[in-house]
């Protein structure tokens, strides 16, 4: 295994052991997002404080058709 792979594997294990793992939060965070009217965007659930990408970034994504 390459050095980088070893690192990312041990990082993954570390998070798992730290108790961050699936189960505890998974469903909640998705519902959290849904509660804010963003059901389709589970990974974008963090909109509590109202931050967003700037317009030039948005424009870029429009152009790139993401």
């Amino acid at each position: 295994m390459k050095q980088a792979e070893v690192k990312s594997q041990s990082r993954r294990d570390f998070f798992r052991k730290a108790g961050l793992g699936a189960g505890a939060l998974g469903a909640t965070a998705v519902t959290l997002a849904a509660g804010r009217g963003e059901a389709a965007e589970p990974v974008r659930s963090a909109s509590a404080a109202g931050y967003r990408e700037t317009d030039h970034v948005k424009k870029y994504y429009e152009l790139a058709k993401f």
């Binding site: 570390f14 505890a24 909640t28 963090a46 700037t54 970034v57």
Partner: protein
């Protein structure tokens, strides 16, 4: 969009990190409404210290109502004149709001392509905003996801240098009942993040 998350192939642990940051951002950005409370009430922690804190949060959610929590949130973070805690990086780092750390953050936000919504009036170094930015950097909701080195740079410069102290204070705050386990969760999560960045280096 769910699509770009797939395109970026967010790893399982990064998705979890996004969710923990998102949860902290939500809890610290405003007091929970009924809907959030009922979700939190159903949380079941894993084994270990973090899991215990999650269970404590679930229990606190079951015992709380939005009106009381609004007051608790106000007393803790807003207050008349000043709340029990001042949840801003600049304040923790310099003793004053709107100091150099905020200017530095604004500069980095510009570089990363992150902007504050116009409706938001408070400075950008609010703990909730920073948690949201971490979530966005990991998930790529501000553009392309930041790699670990970039995440770490942002974390070390703007979060890790004061947020652990803030969460400790929150955990111990006189007015914190519901927010006590939030403080514990934040404190533990910050330590996990710091250690994981260390491992990746």
């Amino acid at each position: 969009m769910a699509d770009d998350a797939i395109a970026f192939e967010l790893s399982e642990e990064d998705e979890l990190r996004v969710q923990w940051y998102a949860l902290l951002a939500r809890l610290l950005g405003a007091s929970p409404d009924r809907e959030l409370l009922s979700m939190l009430a159903g949380l079941k922690g894993n084994e270990g210290e973090l899991g215990e804190a999650v269970n404590a949060l679930a229990a606190a959610a079951r015992a709380s109502d939005p009106k009381t929590l609004e007051e608790e949130y106000f007393d803790l973070f807003i207050g008349v004149g000043q709340g029990e805690l001042v949840p801003f990086g600049s304040y923790y780092l310099t003793g004053f709001l709107h100091e150099k750390p905020l200017a530095k953050l604004r500069g980095d936000m510009r570089l990363l392509g992150i902007a504050r919504e116009e409706s938001v009036k408070e400075p950008e170094d609010h703990i909730s905003a920073l948690c949201e930015m971490m979530a966005g950097l990991i998930s790529g909701s501000f553009g392309a996801p930041a790699d670990l080195a970039e995440q770490r740079r942002f974390f070390d410069t703007h979060v890790g240098c004061w947020a652990p102290r803030f969460f400790e204070d929150l955990q111990a705050a006189r007015n914190a009942r519901f927010y006590m386990p939030v403080g514990t969760i934040g404190r533990l999560f910050m330590a996990i993040e710091a250690q994981a960045f260390e491992m990746a280096a």
